[in-house]
Amino acid sequence: MSQHEIALTVNGRARRARVPARMSLVDFLRDELRLTGTHVGCEHGVCGACSVLMEGRPVRSCLVFAVQAEGTEIITVEGLAPDAEGLSILQDSFWELHALQCGYCTPGMLIAAHALLARNSAPSEDEIREAIGGNLCRCTGYKQIVDAVSLAARRMRGANRPEDAR
């Protein structure tokens, strides 16, 4: 069995581990690091529930072997909030506009939306749908998610006052 030492940064924290070559990044995050916010939906790269940021870009963590993530910076949903108690504007906007129901696709959606807003501060509806087009949701029909990302963008561009919440 092929085991490898890896060192990488996850949510700003340096982590080291010894992993079998065949362990996927999502299984590593969930089972070894106990960061269970990233979810497994299909294990063949279609549903996007496993999306994480790798070097700032959203990728399917079920299609990366943990050993391949050696030396990289990974951000998961647990790393999106500013602190232990708080929520990012994007997360709060999801909550405000009911951009979720069962929550299973939500971490992946947040990652995809976060990456979009990092490079596009005023996305159109089409651009939002394109950005989340690789994240499948069975609960929401996407509309409230699109609205929430739009709201988050508006709040992030402005002063983010309480009255901006809707």
């Binding site: 070559a21 065949r22 790269g45």
Partner: protein, 290 residues
């Protein structure tokens, strides 16, 4: 859906990579972006004994203009190629094709070389490369060779690359002058594998007459096809609707006649025809605007 066990090497240089391939032969499989290979491994349809990870090899990264070519090194991410100024300016057909490859997230990992080496009959990058008569550079422990795209695809999921070779770069010829490109495909949903795709590029002279045209069709057969008859038909014309329609008809005729899982032969021929018309019209209009 956990992959079967494998050994893993991550060579730092191309020389190291091909040395491993030479030593291990058929037991070794290159992994680049993994967007196609890893699902196959998860389903245990692919079970390489050794994975050779080429993602950190510097010589396999990057895009540059090399004389009359845009050279894209094999491990360049599809997302980076799509965003690259040189690709957009000098290989517009490739830029259009790239926008259809998978989804943004898969383009963040998937590579240009990986897509070519995988050789899905409807894959967009290979289709654009074939249309433009691109060249593939392959390296083995024995040396380097260049493979013309017309010789590259051997069958469905099959290329001319030998097991001990690593794809190093693909070079896209730049068409100077009044150039326009068009790319159209049909898939069931937006990000699905296309079951039919058409790539077209045309060059017009100052008067609007077609100097040359390139047309390739993917998903119609076991591998992407150049439709020389259509190209010949278009050269010298003004790419009027009737010229395009006839050329598209020739493209549709090039499909093999079998019904398949995606639909009857009749349906696929009609789709091929309309995709070719749309791609050629788009290419013409883009060229006219220059």
């Amino acid at each position: 859906m956990k992959a079967a066990e494998f050994d893993y090497e991550r060579p730092a240089s191309l020389a190291d990579a091909v040395a491993i391939l030479a030593a291990k032969g058929a037991d070794a499989k290159i992994i680049a972006g993994g967007q196609t290979l890893v699902p196959l491994m998860a389903m245990r349809l692919a079970r390489p004994a050794l994975l050779v990870d080429i993602n950190r090899i510097a010589e396999l990264q990057g895009i540059s203009r090399e004389g009359a070519f845009v050279a894209i090194r094999a491990c360049t991410r599809q997302a980076d190629a799509l965003a690259h100024a040189s690709v957009r300016a000098d290989a517009p057909l490739l830029a259009k094709a790239l926008a259809f490859v998978g989804h943004g997230q898969t383009r963040n990992r998937g590579t240009v070389g990986g897509s070519l080496a995988n050789a899905d009959p409807a894959a967009e990058i290979g289709l654009a490369a074939l249309a433009l008569d691109a060249e593939v550079e392959a390296r083995s422990a024995k040396g380097t060779r260049t493979i013309a795209l017309r010789e590259f695809f051997k069958g469905a999921m099959e290329t001319a690359i030998h097991p001990e070779e690593c794809l190093v770069a693909v070079r896209f010829p730049v068409w100077p002058g009044r150039v326009g490109a068009g790319f159209h495909e049909v898939s069931v949903r937006a990000s699905d594998f296309a079951f039919l795709a058409v790539a077209a590029q045309v060059e017009l002279d100052a008067g609007g007459q077609c100097r040359r045209a390139a047309l390739s069709i993917g998903g119609a057969a076991m591998m992407p096809r150049r439709i020389g008859a259509a190209e010949a038909r278009l050269a010298g014309t003004r790419l009027e609707a009737s010229d395009i329609a006839q050329a598209a008809g020739l493209a549709a005729a090039a499909l093999d006649g079998a019904d398949d899982a995606h639909g009857s032969a009749r349906y696929r021929r009609r789709v091929a025809m309309v995709l070719a018309e749309r791609a050629l019209a788009e290419a013409r209009d883009e060229a006219l605007s220059r």
